[in-house]
């Protein structure tokens, strides 16, 4: 099969600006993008730099952007790509060292910042910790993370907010918060509550989409937002305010009313900053009706909210169970 690769090359050390280089290859049908890039390096252009190791999507070394989206080159079969040219770029949100090799230092720093190790309470048991199977099984997806950086590469929030902790570290944090042996969950959640924390996620699904291991970082971020609110740790945060405002308004009217929602979601000082926007909306006939539409039977929606909330369970923690003496 013939393939046309268009690779973004750069050598910042030599003060080179990025440029595109195209390679036309003939490769076997079963080739992955990584196979093709290695062929380029070995047979066409030995100056092409890339990272790779296992070639079987477990080491996480060969993440790069393929046709605009991050993926593992070794997991990308060329026969599955339908474009005439395959565009290959280094990962985003990270400085380029050379060609497809990026500097992962910022990535690791963010990961270390969340204390990515187990912090149990009390004496270390003589034998292993014993936990009920169903308190660990739900971590099945999140422990599959191979630290490839694909989610961080395509993270929209990180692209405008450098202090954003980022999807890999959030997924790891969730993994420990939900681990029944870890006792630092409150401190961990509080760290997620500050600047750069879970409330700075823009909910764009990019990390969920590009993750080659179905870790679903954004789903973990949303779960931590819920824990922050449920544990009463985020009461003064706009993130908690907006959740409450949204459900209160929809519970009352069945629909969202944007004016009330904004008024209840931000502080008074911030609200003043929206006066201009309100005025603009009013003069353009865009201000939502002052008395919002109410759906018939809106009370039923509130009742649904009340009934579903009563079914929710607390996180299972070994140290709390030991204190409370309840059976496993």
């Amino acid at each position: 099969m013939d393939v046309q690769l268009k690779v973004r090359r750069q050598n910042p050390e030599a003060e080179g600006t990025p440029y595109w280089k195209e390679y036309a290859l003939e490769v076997p049908d079963h080739f992955t993008l990584l196979d093709a890039l290695i062929q380029v390096r070995e047979e066409v252009d030995e100056t092409l730099s890339l990272r790779c190791s296992c070639r079987s999507h477990i080491c996480g070394s060969c993440s790069m952007r393929v046709n605009g989206h991050a993926n593992l080159a070794c997991k990308t079969k060329l026969s599955d790509i339908h474009s005439d040219t395959v565009t290959v770029e280094p990962m985003g949100n990270m400085p380029v060292i050379k060609d497809l090799v990026v500097d992962l230092e910022p990535f690791w720093k963010k990961l270390y910042s969340i204390d990515p190790y187990l912090q149990p309470a009390g004496e270390v048991p003589e034998r292993e910790y014993v936990v009920p199977a169903d308190s660990m099984l739900h971590l099945d997806g999140v422990v599959n993370c191979i630290m490839c950086g694909a989610c961080v590469s395509d993270c929209e929030s990180l692209s405008v907010n450098p202090i954003f902790i980022g999807p890999t570290a959030f997924a790891k944090e969730y993994r420990f918060i939900m681990d029944p042996r870890d006792a630092a969950d409150t401190q961990r959640l509080m760290q997620m509550n500050g600047p750069g924390g879970v409330w700075d996620c823009t909910h764009c699904f990019q990390c969920v989409e590009v993750c080659p291991k179905d870790v679903a970082p954004m789903d973990r971020i949303m779960a931590m937002r819920k824990m922050l609110v449920d544990d009463g740790l985020a009461e003064k945060h706009n993130g908690a305010r907006r959740q409450k405002a949204f459900t209160d308004i929809v519970g009352r009217y069945g629909r969202l009313d944007e004016t009330r929602y904004l008024m209840k979601s931000v502080t008074m000082v911030e609200l003043a900053g929206y006066a201009k926007v309100g005025l603009r909306s009013m003069t353009h006939g865009k201000l939502p009706p002052l008395r919002p539409h109410r759906i018939p039977d809106a009370a039923r929606i509130r009742r649904i909210f009340e009934r579903t909330r009563s079914t929710q369970r607390r996180r299972f923690k070994l140290h709390q169970q030991a204190q409370e003496g309840s059976p496993v």
């Binding site: 823009t202 764009c204 989409e209 929809v250 909306s281 018939p296």
Partner: protein, 294 residues
Amino acid sequence: MTTYAFYPGCVAKGGAPELYQSMVAVGEKLGFSLSELTGAACTGAGVISERDPLAGDVVNTRTFAMAEQLGHPIMTICSTCTGVMAQVASRVNRDEAYRREVNQYLTDEGLEYRGTTEVKHLLWVLVEDYGLDRLKELVVRPLAGVRLAPFYGCYIVRPSSAVDPLTAGREGYLEQVITALGADPVEEYRGKDKCCGFPLLETNKKSSLALTGKRLDEAREVSADALVTPCPLCHLNLDGQQPDTPSASTAPSMPILHLPQAIGLAIGIAPERLGLGRHIIDTKGFMAKLAVAG
């Protein structure tokens, strides 16, 4: 012609009334049969499910059950509504045991969802049900000479496990519709499937506006004359917040059209009926360019 259970969404009835107005006008002209689901609740836009995932699923399943009773597929005009519903459908349609659990909360209303309701955005309806050839036949005023960049909105393209644009071939629908209307669909626009920043507005306004500005700057880079979006929430930021984006004071303004407005212009509906005067970013310059080109 199929009748659709029409789900306009809160924003089309609130902060972006021009969307509802233009959809009704376009629907009449295209001969759509729309039966509005007036009793359906908000999808939650990802916020209700953040606070309580089960509540989000129940409220949307309630809407599916209402449409199922009517025997019609749902048509939406909002990427976010579409995506939230698609995510809920991917759970309750595929998992019968879970559907039973969710249905428990609906029995007191006499509703039970059997897992058969199809949810389609207007964009999908146009290409898959109505047909672009039929749409082209109605074009009386081709939007020739203007560059309309597509702006999908995250929820209508991701996560693919729920909306699956690739398998369904939905990846380039917006470009196809723009082409059918006679305009240039600015294929090289990088921002088309990226984030408008809207979900961050209350929690990190600076990042929110930075993302909005980035999408607008990307559109300016490729000399787009306007953006077309199937998502009114994106419109709230791209249009409503545009004057407050970082480059607004120095860069030219970028008009943002709702999908039905772009269609309406091409099929000869008067701009006033499409609510083009109800935008924060003036559309007069764009209309003038269209007139010159036409």
